[in-house]
Subunit: 164 residues, 5 copies
């Protein structure tokens, strides 16, 4: 007996961001399929103006489009008002998750995380790529990530490892 599950994954991004994180998501899915050729994924994309529009877009993906999980790609700006917007968006994200009881991987890259644009783009790619793999792991089940619990994993930079 074979069970064929197609995971429906919502991916929301913004026109405000200054790099295209969606490419990293696509690459992560392609690489995951290479590792597991039976993996079936349907991506539902949603592009909004800015990060404060992401929570409702994700909620719509998780309810109207019946996605199993969502990935939110955003780039908060460097000003204090941008930090506040990012905080408000993240509070919205918490509520969107709790209202749907589904995960939303929040892939936010703060514009001031790296001064060098090339390094920032690389950071964004790494974070989006790794969190896409996290999304796939969460879809596998509650304990798929358990062997890595407490291991100091990082997205956007190198893993820092356990202190033990």
């Amino acid at each position: 007996m074979t069970i064929n599950i197609t995971w429906k994954i919502g991916v929301a991004d913004t026109t405000f961001a200054r790099f295209d994180m969606y490419k990293a998501v696509e690459q992560a899915f392609a690489d995951a399929k290479k590792q597991d050729p039976t993996l079936k994924i349907e991506i539902v994309r949603y592009t909004v103006p800015g990060i404060k529009d992401l929570p409702v877009a994700c909620k719509s993906l998780l309810t109207n489009n019946k996605c199993d999980i969502a990935i939110a790609l955003g780039m908060p700006g460097p000003m204090p008002i941008d930090k506040q917007c990012s905080h408000e968006a993240s509070i919205g994200m918490q509520h969107a998750m709790l209202m749907t009881t589904k995960h939303i991987l929040e892939v936010f890259v703060h514009f001031d995380e790296e001064a060098d644009p090339k390094k920032l783009v690389a950071l964004a790619h790494d974070r989006a790529y790794k969190h896409t793999h996290n999304a796939l792991a969460l879809l596998k089940g509650r304990t798929a990530l358990t062997p890595l619990a407490g291991k100091g994993l990082r997205q956007g930079k190198a893993h820092v490892g356990s202190l033990e």
Copy 2:
């Protein structure tokens, strides 16, 4: 066969603001109709005292008035207490969106974004104008803005472009 959709768009504004952003919304709709003569829009306006009254006004527009989307026009003042009010209003906006699963374009112009009143009025006009077009794009569907994802678009100032 022709499908005739009339979009119902809520627009909420305040008596606290020191400029009339509604004019920019109207102009954006007029320009959009020039580009697409088949576009049909019904505007439902709602004027409240200040920004903290906007979330419930938008929720009322989206539920009682059955609007498909809302645009919230507000001008937070320059004092720390104004920043706090703006934060509270934005948290309310997140909840209003999540409760209705509909978008609210938050067009907030902070009084201290420009020292020169003329520049501030121009900034407010640009932000309201562009976000009105964003509202129309979101009504078209999830991927209407996708060609612009990650392109560094800005409302209120010139687009900054992609870093890639």
Copy 3:
């Protein structure tokens, strides 16, 4: 044919405040009735200890007492902890409004807005008086305040006017 509507208006205030803003509310209603003798108002009052007790009092007025709108009168103190309480109360107010889809006019007078007690009392009176008129305007309908949109109205101080 004559339609006779009696507006039911909730007014919540606190024992913490150091001035009685309810008098300004009463005076505003009296003046409004002079302007429009057909105006019918029923006031439902609710007094609580402090500002953090106001959101649930307003929700109770809007649901249990079936008020059409509420006015919340409060005076946050001058200390950092008071600012935090005020922020929490305002977040509660946002939720109370969104849960009921009704307006709550938040008339908060911060103790440090004026050093001179007489000026502070006058400010509190002005803010409560004007927001009571705002409440009546909101009851008239979505566009009753529209002629004043963007006109830089202020409650507690003189209107600052439009920048245009």
Copy 4:
């Protein structure tokens, strides 16, 4: 005809606090019964580890245990992280009240309100004692506290009075 109401009052406290505020609550109830021998109260107590566990305990008291009102006794610590916890607990408290449409008297004593431990214990006792009387007043009805509106009442220190 005599109506015999027994008020069911939830009292939640913490093991984190460094003083027992429940004693003050009990004394307040005893004194209230002396003033009004017909007063009938049933106390339902709930002890949790810290202040962030209080909102759900109070919600449980107000729903599962059908209490009419709740009193939350807590002592936030003096560090910045403690201030943040206190803020999160207070936001939870707002939601617990709005979800149940019942009052929760938040009796929080910040560890840094007094340097002298004896004064801090006295402050905590005064605040818990007075807010217990506030709870009883709120149970009597919406306007039981109205004669004291705007009178500058304080819990934990002496009343400061009206500015008028």
Copy 5:
């Protein structure tokens, strides 16, 4: 007559943390069973990437997996953005508790609580161990912790005791 209750306890942790707090939870359960051989516990584990993924994981444990209580193990990083994430996660935790009316013991260890990694690991172990015992006490009933109310208990460091 004997009643045999098996408590279902959800434990959520992260791959971001740099130590494995789950071991302390297991040890606490083992020690509790030594003290009370009749104690029956079923642990349901859930590992997520970071602290902002914990609230929805806990909500899922409390609803989908029908756990009676949950323990959330997390390590916020030392940067300002980490503090903000921690605040957002804690707000989510408050909502998860209030939506389910069940406790979630938030075992957060801030990376900057101790400079020495060994001391930080020991602190994390102590906090997770003691809060696991708190979870068991809360399952026993509302007043299981009451003898310790106001006693200045601490998790992660030595108890500080009562001021009285």
